[in-house]
């Protein structure tokens, strides 16, 4: 019987299967960070348990680390404590840690792939919902809660009910590849399927547009699978995948042999059954801007802030939610998106903080200045991204335009560190969630691509980047 890529990875990781109940799956890679792990390590200590496979476990600190000068002490004592606790836990349990001063520190979903920890055909878990990012490499990767972090530390396995499968085909050719980005594709998908459209499923993205995307762009797509309700997103690995990983720090010694195995096995068979299918055509896709308080509340940059009753299409709960969102966002229906004035710009997060994101944004910014009314910051996803960007001189381009050039971390995507919005501030953000207060209590987030964020920083309002010269 033909199998999907998901089913192949699932089947090759089954440790225990039960008739009525979840399956025990083996975990190949466990990524750990400071916020969702302390209670898990405590649990191990209380029950006198060990970490079963420290060699398959990697840790970094990303969520609450400051992005200012790393040579200075952390002012927030509670954050400092959480970081110290991770250091102690990694030391006590013999886990590889990329600490705040490591050249490999960065957002866990940026460093996994760039260090070659993320590999095709593997199972990867992390106490973070954006673990779906790693699916871009053909890995079955999903976020877990802290109890499961403890379970994986202790057993290297996870109990899971087999999800259903959802194929999202992305077809067509983008008219302008610099202006219509992976971010616009995934925002548009979520806009169509809704924030729970992928619930209970693993999404496999396929189609000619996916083949055309770079690895970093594929990561942006898989990253936001969770915003469509799916725990994992997958893309079958191809030559681009293998070329990206080759030579990375932690790839296995027999990498070339594995590539042969992966090329042959890691794809959905023709005729494989998917429980759900959705197709997005990108030929006429416009840059996307979110207007509300969940990622499905998104529209074209050329459009207007929608009228709740039109948006809700008869669903009263959604209409109520849209009204409340507009109130929170302080927006009036009918306002052109390009008339929305912004106060802040954030280019960063596990969705859009990689080298290509910064290169694309720098093309918009070069030789120009951030609007005097806007405070704009760039937070590279990792120390390695930062270094590579500096080698290309991107830091100078951004700094000359009055962008802040900061150290790596999750930063204002979730505002656990000092990088937050003040109440009422409006931000064009390349992150993944526009929930109420996500970037700071009372802050207002509009999700956009890096080029859209850069252009908004210069203009002080949203602009259609297709009107700019991006070559």
């Amino acid at each position: 019987m033909p199998k999907t890529l998901f089913e192949k990875i699932w089947d090759s990781h089954v440790v225990v299967e039960q008739k009525n109940g979840p399956t025990l799956l083996y975990v190949d890679r466990h990524l750990v960070h400071e916020v969702t792990s302390p209670q898990a390590f405590d649990g191990l200590r209380i029950n006198k348990r060990k970490v079963r496979r420290p060699d398959l476990t990697f840790a970094t600190m990303d969520h609450n680390v400051p992005t200012s000068d790393r040579s200075l002490p952390i002012i927030d004592q509670i954050s400092a404590r959480q970081i110290q606790v991770l250091e102690k836990n990694c030391k006590d349990f013999d886990i590889q840690l990329f600490d705040i001063n490591s050249p490999n520190q960065g957002i866990v979903h940026v460093i996994g792939p760039e260090l070659g920890i993320t590999l095709p055909g593997t199972t990867i878990v992390c106490g973070d919902s954006h673990t779906s990012t790693h699916g871009a490499f053909g890995a079955l990767a999903f976020g877990i809660g802290t109890s499961d972090v403890e379970h994986v530390l202790a057993t290297q396995c996870i109990w899971m009910e087999k999800p259903k499968t959802f194929e999202i085909k992305i077809e067509g050719k983008r008219k302008n590849k610099h202006a219509i980005t992976a971010k616009d594709i995934i925002l548009s998908i979520i806009r169509h399927i809704g924030t729970a459209g992928g619930a209970g499923t693993v999404i496999e993205y396929s189609g000619e547009t996916i083949s055309d995307l770079t690895m970093e762009q594929r990561m942006t797509i898989c990253n936001m699978s969770i915003e469509g309700g799916a725990r994992a997103g997958l893309i079958a690995p191809d030559e681009k995948t293998f070329a990206y990983l080759k030579g990375r720090k932690y790839i296995p010694k027999n990498y070339d042999e594995l590539v042969d195995y992966w090329s042959e096995n890691l794809k959905s068979d023709s005729g494989a059954h998917f429980d759900k299918i959705f197709t997005l055509h990108v030929d006429t896709l416009s840059p996307q801007v979110s207007w509300g308080t969940n990622p499905a509340m998104t529209t074209d940059v050329t459009s207007i802030v929608p009228f709740p009753e039109e948006y809700a299409k008869g669903n009263q709960d959604e209409e109520k939610a849209a009204n409340k969102a507009l109130q929170y966002m302080d927006l009036k229906p009918g306002t052109p998106i390009t008339d929305i004035l912004i106060d802040r710009v954030f280019i960063g997060s596990c969705t859009n903080s990689r080298l290509e994101d910064l290169i694309e944004a720098s093309k918009i910014v070069k030789g120009k200045k951030v609007s005097p009314k806007v405070r704009a910051m760039i937070v590279p996803g990792s120390q390695l991204v930062k270094k590579q960007a500096e080698e290309l001189g991107l830091d100078k381009i951004f700094k000359e335009a009055n962008f802040e050039w900061r150290e790596s971390g999750c930063s204002m995507c979730l505002g656990m560190n000092p990088d937050i919005l003040a109440a009422g501030e409006r931000c064009a953000s390349t992150s993944n969630r526009n929930f109420e207060g996500r970037q700071g209590a009372g802050g207002r987030t509009h999700l956009v691509s890096p080029v859209m964020a850069a252009a908004a920083a210069l203009a002080g309002h949203f602009v259609d980047v297709r009107e700019l010269d991006l070559n």
Partner: protein, 196 residues
Amino acid sequence: MEPFKTIKSIATPLDKVNVDTDQIMPKQFLKLVQKTGFGQYLFYDWRFTTDGIPKEDFILNNPKYRGSKILLTRDNFGCGSSREHAAWALLDYGFVVVIATSFADIFYNNCFKNGILPIRLDMKKIESLFKTNSEIEVNLKNQTITIPNETISFDIESHRKKTLLEALDDISVTSQYEDKISQFEKSQLYPNSSFF
């Protein structure tokens, strides 16, 4: 974790869709390194003004629902971040049952790890609960919710029911399969063992 007992309580109606875990447990409180003490921060930005004064119009601040053990809400509750702090906060505040039309996957899973019962009901049943103004009884063993003049039954995966009723510890359960795990690690079925 305590074995799940029958719950009798008024249900607190949180009439919203897509309540995300950033609302249940705002990020400024994720820095604690223990599992307890999160209840005071539950729905913090909805519950309190920036000066920390309770907002009268938020349902949890209505004295009628003080001590309520059941939270009643709508579609896609618990979406977004995987933070288990959301479940810890609900439990610490006193909620042991959450009833909704649907839940986000990770949150749903996190509930069972902490002795919270998430119940999925169809829209019609949810509506009748929203109209109920008195105490309701949730009986997991019988899979029923009793409101005046009506008993509503609900579905739950049998293994999850067992986990709650017997307060099972997942890791102890998994440890019984130690030989299978070791066997998997030794097998060359998948080229995992050759990674290092």
